[in-house]
Symmetry: none
Subunit: 466 residues, 2 copies
């Protein structure tokens, strides 16, 4: 019964584990019964004793067999424990849809064309973290070190230097590593804002942020996005009317519109922040994709009332979850405390990966290649998508996102459902709008936006509607 | 006024920064005034132009001076930036001292003998994650994957299997990966408790937990630890009087006392939880170090009102920050949502390290070796520490911690300071007591407790006092 198939493509060890598991689960090897010895089993299965030993280890790890020193392996007592039924989340409709979408793209459930995803394909990132980097960190014991509360000092020094090069006066001591940008937003909002405070957010902007702020009982005041940045008139009247404590914005390659604010717009936004005395949290998640000479709020304000949030999730490694906050000392101090109380410290392993990649120059080289790749993909995508009937306003050659409008009269919700049936994940505009606007818009990821399956799907849908 | 002291042990640059900061803060260099040029200042201070440039960079980074290209450095307008009212988390002196300690041991500032640390030395852990594991995960692209919201499904399946083997009915769907156990406690407390709620904690117990609960404005009700577990009389009267919503406890190898609750004690605690209708969060951070046959609340309750918190921080890899929560669906659902709103998802890289180490049987083998090593270290440490005059009640052969009493009449605070001067980090008992008790006790890490430097230090101190 233990005989394995040597000609199979399934490894012999896997076959053996599966066989023994089956024999135990069907009761043919009853609880408490003794298994053949390693040598006997190797003979009967026709495999090496090494393979058998490995298989026993794996069966032990699964809790199916137990070793009793000196007397061999036995079938473990299989306490059939009740598996609790699963209850659905109790969340408001908005948070639900947001989480639903987040989960859908994070779990990539049968998605063939994740054009609604915010992530680059792994193939676009992998040159930056070769396996040798991880094995080097393995040798240096990064997995066994405790991270410091603020995060790896050498990493913070490298990040502060990078910011200073971009004319942002940051000190390593006033920089804190977070588990990605969303973690940064949550720590900032929890620390510097109080329930009931008004906060400004761009309409449209990143939906997870809206859910985070709403969950903290903050009042979201929308500030429309125009081609050159935030709508200044709307910003001023919102500031006058609502006396907001903070503005969450993204000056470079904004998610989802892909547009960057002009220098003049940044200047005016900052003047309003000063006049109406609110803080600004600026998302720099995608800034490294922007060319030199781009102006941001953090630069012209020199981190007085602007809080800088950076991240390596999108441009380096989504599996690392490393972001950071730079701000003046009086603002960063309570954020550090909040981080400690939230999770004590981050992952020294992930922090050291980013440190290595920055210090070795691999990140810099990777970004040069990535920008190039993005520019080419944008050019192709914009051309092809316009061919099939999407309207795309931005003519920028930078950034991961295209903000595209479907032909008037088409129902975006039906489009999403039809797309899903073909394995195409679409991110519709209203998801990004705190006021439910932007119907008819879609955020497209340039890495997938010229996929033939997507193009033929859109072409069919649009010609059927016409 | 800028002259620095060349013979001082303080670096010249630091002196200069301090001087200029003082002049600005006292108003002797008023806002907007122009600073001497780099060359002038170098002359007047008697330092190199390089030192001055570096000092200006640091003053800029601190927001005290501003460079205006072409015209030099000026004292910045010291806009007392709108610091929001809640900028100081309302934390008590206790929380501050706790964070001070946490920072001290996490940053291991010049510590030679970290006997107050809660971590094993890297050398005791490293067999479990060989560099080949990391390079394998590098090849499979784990750094480029987004983690799912709940955490790696295969990892959750392995964890649920392990729990079921220990007679705890867990389903992978009702298990969520966290960034360590402290993250788990924070998510649980934020989600299932409301400000003002009474919560029970053991006295003594892990101090970061106390800080977390206090920061959420929960009322901490202490339940003393006795040799066989929580003091049942105190627990019952606290439950009757305060109607707590939750009890945070650790039945196996409790931090800091190292003691495990008896089966009878667990049974009585659970009866009280049922009678007074409170939930229990059980910390299993160290449970894998306990021998077979140990009984826990999660086992006898079968995860009805007990929430299981596990972690790989102490026994596998502090640099991974992987913990988990298993609970019944209705409790886990809001915790999942809180995790998304807190940081979206964890690190796929770190999750996959734990998955590999569990699935390959490496973790199981490592734990066998670690238990053995701990038992030997305990035996040696207990003998040696008793020799020098410490009193140790526990005779258990398991667990990382020894709970030791210094001779009566000795001042524990002085001992800590004297130890620090010799590079010995001590964790004094009162740190772990929400009521400031346990003076005269110390928590010792068995991996360092027989260090000759520690033993000779204690021996000297105790004989001087006698």
């Amino acid at each position: 019964v233990f005989q394995v198939v040597r000609s199979s493509s399934i490894p012999l060890g896997d076959q053996l584990v599966e066989k023994v598991t089956g024999l135990i689960e069907t009761g043919r090897l009853p609880e408490g019964s003794r298994l053949p010895s390693v040598r006997q089993l190797a003979q009967r299965a026709g495999v090496s004793t090494y393979t058998v030993t490995q298989a026993f280890e794996r069966l032990s790890a699964k809790g199916l067999v137990q070793s009793r020193p000196g007397s061999g392996y036995f079938v473990a007592r299989l306490r059939r424990v009740p598996v609790p039924a699963r209850v659905e989340l109790e969340v408001s409709a908005i948070v639900d849809s947001v989480l639903g979408f987040a989960r859908r793209f994070l779990e990539q459930d049968k998605v063939i064309v994740p054009v609604g995803s915010g992530f680059f394909p792994a193939a676009w990132l992998e040159e930056a973290i070769p396996p040798s980097t991880l094995s080097k960190l393995g040798k240096s014991g990064a997995a066994f070190e405790s991270a410091t509360v603020k995060g790896d000092p050498a990493l913070r020094e490298l990040l502060a230097e990078r910011l200073r090069t971009a004319s942002i006066p940051a000190a390593a001591a006033d920089l804190i590593i977070t588990s990605g940008a969303s973690h940064a937003f949550d720590l900032i909002a929890r620390t510097l804002l109080a329930p009931g405070d008004a906060v400004l957010v761009n309409d449209p902007s990143f939906f997870v942020l809206h859910a985070q702020l709403r969950a903290l009982n903050l009042r979201l005041i929308p500030v429309p996005m125009l081609a050159d940045g935030s709508d200044l008139e709307a910003l001023e009247s919102a500031a006058r009317l609502h006396r907001p404590r903070m503005f969450f914005t993204q000056s470079l390659l904004q998610n989802p519109t892909g547009s960057s604010s002009s220098a003049a717009n940044c200047h005016q936004v900052l003047k309003l922040a000063e006049r109406y005395d609110f803080l600004v949290t600026e998302d720099h998640m995608l800034s490294d994709l922007a060319g030199a000479g781009a102006v941001t709020l953090a630069q012209i304000d020199e981190l007085r009332r602007v809080i800088y949030v950076g991240s390596f999730t999108k441009l380096l490694g989504p599996g690392l979850r490393i972001g950071y906050i730079a701000a003046q000392s009086s603002l960063i101090a309570p954020i550090i405390k909040a981080k400690v109380l939230n999770l004590l410290a981050g992952s020294a392993l992930c922090e050291s990966v980013v440190r290595e990649v920055l210090a070795s120059g691999k990140y810099r080289r990777h970004i040069v290649h990535l920008r190039d790749r993005v520019a080419k993909a944008r050019a192709v995508s914009v051309f092809q998508l316009r061919q099939v009937g999407l309207s795309i306003e931005s003519s920028s050659s930078e950034g991961i996102f295209l903000w595209a409008r479907i032909p008037p009269g088409m129902d975006p919700d039906r489009l999403v459902i039809a797309a899903q049936a073909q394995g195409i994940l679409l991110a519709k505009g209203s998801l990004f709008s705190p006021t439910g606007q932007c119907r008819g818009y879609f955020r497209l990821n340039v890495a997938y936006a010229a996929d033939p399956l997507l193009l033929s799907f859109l072409s069919e849908q649009f010609s059927a509607a016409a």
